[in-house]
């Protein structure tokens, strides 16, 4: 048994712990625990009042039992009693118990707060710290109410001991985070800022954390901290290693304090005062210089401490984004780390360079490392490092290297972890669209995406390729030809069938030989929504290739379509069959005219990526461009109501009207496919040419009845003209 220190003994506890460890089974352990619980219970209930030592021992045993994973439903009162002992070891156990087993009984809370109050006013620094630590660890609302006014006073009082100040600062931080309304700014705030000048580095360390948090919500109140922080940092960075003896770690002066100071400075813009700014820039340059000097020690602790400061300094340089010289130097330093033998450093360098890539000052410098990053993507053994490499490629992508980067990302995708595939797909899709000069490359890239990672190609991605093909005449033929070839692969992803079905339905006439059989061979393998899309493609074929009419009609007429258990498929089969048999070729051609170009708005893919990754996903450039340009291709419709009015008035043909109206019924869904979905509230009408009503859609809500009338009238007049 390891030596138990002389101060408190508690031999009984050590024996108990040994007994537990020696238990051969779970049952034996439970038995031993229950025996002890019974023993403790009887001692607590006993007639004789327990002495402090025994109480401490039993409360400690209870704590041990709790930490093993067993519920404890007594002992709180005894623990609270220990708080009023004047012996440190007893108080300590009492405070520990109530911090770990937090109890919301109001009577206990009152007693605890009382004990804390006594300890805070005791002038005994050890007891004051115990009380402050308890408040910091529990941080309840009741404690905040009781003490939020007192703690700032303790913190800034002249006669408070250093260790108490440290604890008070962080205790106040805890209270501020959980009950900010109870920590009021006051005279103490300027005194707190001056703690940055304290000669006790531990006090400075604790105070910085408090100031950093407070300055988020009250930047003006604390802005004097900037020049003080710069002075402090400057003194540390230029100090000889003998100056800060207690705080030098493996030859690095005050590394954690330096990091915290650099972090605090990231809460504010660059200092306005020229002298302060100059001093800070000098500091940052010194830190960058030190990274180039030979190390004072071979130990990894030395280099980690030094590099912790370096990375934080680089974060600050990036945050300011105003010193080109520093940014380029930072980039070069990170470039060296990209090939370091330590995986940690390669990882951090890739991560940090990602943010550097979005700065206009360093974007070009970052690009020079493309080969190293591509190599990392291919060869790193830790998947998180490969992922950072992929993120960096995405961030450094521009017109000059887009083709190369997209090709590398596609090849990475073939073997990527499943958990990251969806994000990779979104990124490749965004890059391909953004930097496409030649849209046939874009089409190839998306089709490759479907081929490699079809399951992870979300709707937004394949809607987009269709929207783009529809909006660009120059790529329609190429797209039709390419999907036709892709569909000939023996095993082809369902998303490929969807894209292929739609594109061939619209533009199949642009390539000489089209085979209905090719599409139909995939039909039975597909899900219901895909089959619905294919049926629409088939009716479009009847229009494009009249020779296929009888074959397709036979398919539509077959039991598996017109008696299909899915109402959507059944409805479509019936309607299309009817449409194909009673409409003349001219009317058919008009109704099944090419889809008009989609209106332009923000890319839904970008929106999806942002949602997926949070604000950090998208670079500054992308956000600003997205706002400026607005002329990007996009999709998406508005919700019903007013937009259908606009749709109707803008419609050039009934088909056009149908398309626009359908888009108006959907949320962000450009595909009129979904507008044909069955709704029990809107009974479907069969096509009835005799009365010149051609609802390919369910009838609208009552408010839009007028537009249906207009629509019917247009169609009627068109039919009469033909």
């Amino acid at each position: 048994m390891p030596a138990v220190s002389k101060g408190d003994g508690m031999r009984g506890l050590a024996v108990f712990i040994s007994d537990i460890r020696n238990c051969k089974s779970k049952e034996a352990e439970i038995k031993r625990i229950n025996k002890e619980l019974a023993n403790i219970r009887s001692k607590f209930k006993g007639d004789k009042a327990l002495d402090g030592y025994s109480k401490k021992k039993y409360v400690c045993k209870l704590l041990f039992i709790f930490l093993l994973g067993h519920d404890i439903d007594f002992g709180h009162m005894e623990a609270v009693n220990l708080l009023s002992s004047n012996k440190y070891t007893e108080k300590q156990i009492g405070y520990l118990f109530i911090s770990v087993l937090v109890n919301s009984n109001s009577e206990l809370i009152r007693l605890i707060n009382n004990a804390i109050k006594n300890d805070l006013s005791s002038r005994n620094p050890t007891f004051m710290c115990l009380a402050l630590h308890c408040i910091a660890n529990v941080g309840s609302r009741e404690m905040a109410e009781a003490f939020a006014g007192e703690i700032p006073r303790i913190l800034v009082a002249g006669d408070t001991m250093d260790s108490v100040k440290q604890s008070a600062a962080l205790c106040l931080l805890r209270l501020y985070k959980t009950s900010p309304d109870l920590v009021l700014m006051g005279e103490w705030t300027s005194r707190v800022v001056h703690l940055l000048n304290d000669q006790h580095m531990g006090v400075v360390t604790a105070a910085i954390s408090l100031i950093t948090c407070l300055s988020q919500k009250n930047p003006d109140e604390f802005k004097t901290c900037v020049s003080l922080a710069v002075s402090r940092l400057s003194r540390i960075v230029s100090s000889a290693s003998t100056d800060l003896q207690d705080y030098t770690y493996y030859f690095v002066p005050a590394p954690w304090l330096s990091c915290k100071l650099l972090r605090l400075l990231q809460c504010y813009p660059p200092p306005e005062d020229g002298a302060v700014k100059g001093r800070l820039v000098e500091c940052l340059e010194t830190i960058l210089n030190k990274a180039q000097e030979p190390p004072k020690s071979k130990k990894v602790q030395h280099s980690n401490a030094k590099n912790a400061i370096l990375f934080e300094a680089i974060s600050l340089i990036i945050h300011y984004d105003s010193e080109p010289n520093l940014l380029v130097r930072a980039c070069n330093q990170l470039g060296q780390f990209l090939q370091h033998r330590e995986t940690n450093l390669r990882y951090l360098a890739l991560e940090s360079m990602c943010t550097l890539a979005s700065s206009e000052f360093s974007h070009e410098a970052v690009k020079t490392h493309i080969e190293t990053v591509i190599n990392a993507l291919k060869t790193e053994r830790d998947v998180s490092v490969r992922q950072r490499a992929a993120d960096l490629l995405y961030a450094m992508c521009d017109r000059s290297n887009a083709k190369q980067i997209v090709a590398e990302m596609l090849s990475y995708l073939e073997t990527a972890d499943y958990s990251i595939r969806e994000e990779m797909v979104l990124k490749v899709a965004i890059l391909a669209e953004k930097y496409a000069v030649d849209y046939s490359w874009y089409v190839d890239t998306i089709l490759n995406l479907i081929r490699i990672a079809g399951d992870y190609v979300s709707e937004e991605v394949w809607y987009r390729v269709i929207q783009i093909v529809i909006n660009r005449d120059d790529v329609q033929g190429y797209a039709a030809k390419t999907v036709f070839e892709a569909l000939q692969a023996p095993a082809c992803h369902e998303n490929m069938v969807k894209v292929g079905g739609y594109i061939l339905g619209e533009f199949g006439n642009l390539i000489p030989l089209i085979s209905f059989n090719l599409l139909h061979s995939k039909f039975h393998l597909c899900s219901v929504p895909t089959r619905a899309l294919l049926l629409s493609a088939y009716i479009k074929f009847i229009n494009l290739f009249p020779e296929t009419k009888s074959t397709i009609q036979e398919v539509l007429r077959s039991d598996s379509q017109i008696r299909n258990s899915d109402v959507e498929l059944q409805q479509r089969a019936v309607e299309y069959l009817k449409l194909s048999s009673i409409a003349s070729t001219d009317v058919l051609a008009t109704v099944l005219e090419e889809m008009p170009p989609f209106p332009e708005r923000e890319s839904s893919i970008l929106a999806k990526l942002k949602k997926k990754k949070g604000p950090g996903a998208v670079s500054v450039n992308e956000l600003e461009e997205g706002k400026r340009e607005g002329g990007e291709l996009n999709g998406g419709g508005e919700r019903g109501g007013d937009s259908s009015a606009i749709a109707a008035s803008n419609a050039k043909t009934p088909t056009h009207y149908v398309h626009l109206f359908s888009m108006s019924l959907l949320n962000q869904n450009p595909m009129y496919e979904h507008s044909l979905s069955f709704s029990p509230l809107r009974p479907r009408l069969l096509i009835c040419w005799g009365s010149a009503r051609v609802p390919l859609l369910p009838p609208p809500l009552p408010a839009q009845a007028a537009y249906w009338l207009m629509f019917s009238q247009r169609l009627a007049s068109m039919m009469m003209a033909s």
Partner: protein, 161 residues
């Protein structure tokens, strides 16, 4: 740097807002917890689940991996010392190397205090380990980093009745 750009970067970099330690764990290879210190509210069930998840995540890693792991919305900085994994869970924008060395600093203090610390020391003196933790970390932040000061304080406390 103008205001507009400052606010953009604020969105994207979210630099400092409420970054802190979320919890500290010391576990052995078998998954037994030797210390669990929590700096945010979790139910007992949630705590148990977190402990199991952390164990699962760190024990499969080896020398070719980094000492950092993405974990839910946070990250874990960890290092293995003999049979024990020391894990600090921090926010995503926290400084990895600073916390990696904070762990080492803490371990060196334990080593000095318990005279070549081993796992059993942490078991039998569990209530003292909390004292060491509270000297060096508090309210989810680093409190004291000087080994000299921390050990001096611990020895003083040791001498009290």
């Amino acid at each position: 740097m103008n205001e507009a750009k400052c606010s953009w970067l604020g969105l994207i970099f979210s630099p400092v807002v409420l970054v802190q330690i979320r919890f500290i764990l010391i576990q052995n290879r078998a998954g037994k917890t030797r210390l669990a210190k929590w700096y945010m509210q979790f139910d007992d069930d949630e705590k148990q689940k977190l402990i199991e998840e952390v164990h699962a995540v760190v024990t499969v890693r080896d020398a070719k991996h980094t000492n950092f792991v993405e974990f839910r919305n946070f990250k874990i900085i960890y290092r293995r010392y003999a049979g024990l994994y020391f894990c600090i869970c921090v926010d995503v924008t926290d400084n990895n190397l600073a916390y990696l060395e904070a762990i080492h600093n803490f371990v060196e203090v334990l080593n000095e205090y318990f005279h070549n610390v081993c796992e059993l020391d942490l078991v039998f003196n569990f209530y003292k380990v909390y004292t060491v933790v509270d000297e060096m970390f508090l309210a989810g932040e680093i409190r004291e980093t000087s080994q000299t000061k921390v050990l001096k304080q611990l020895l003083m406390l040791q001498s009290l009745e």
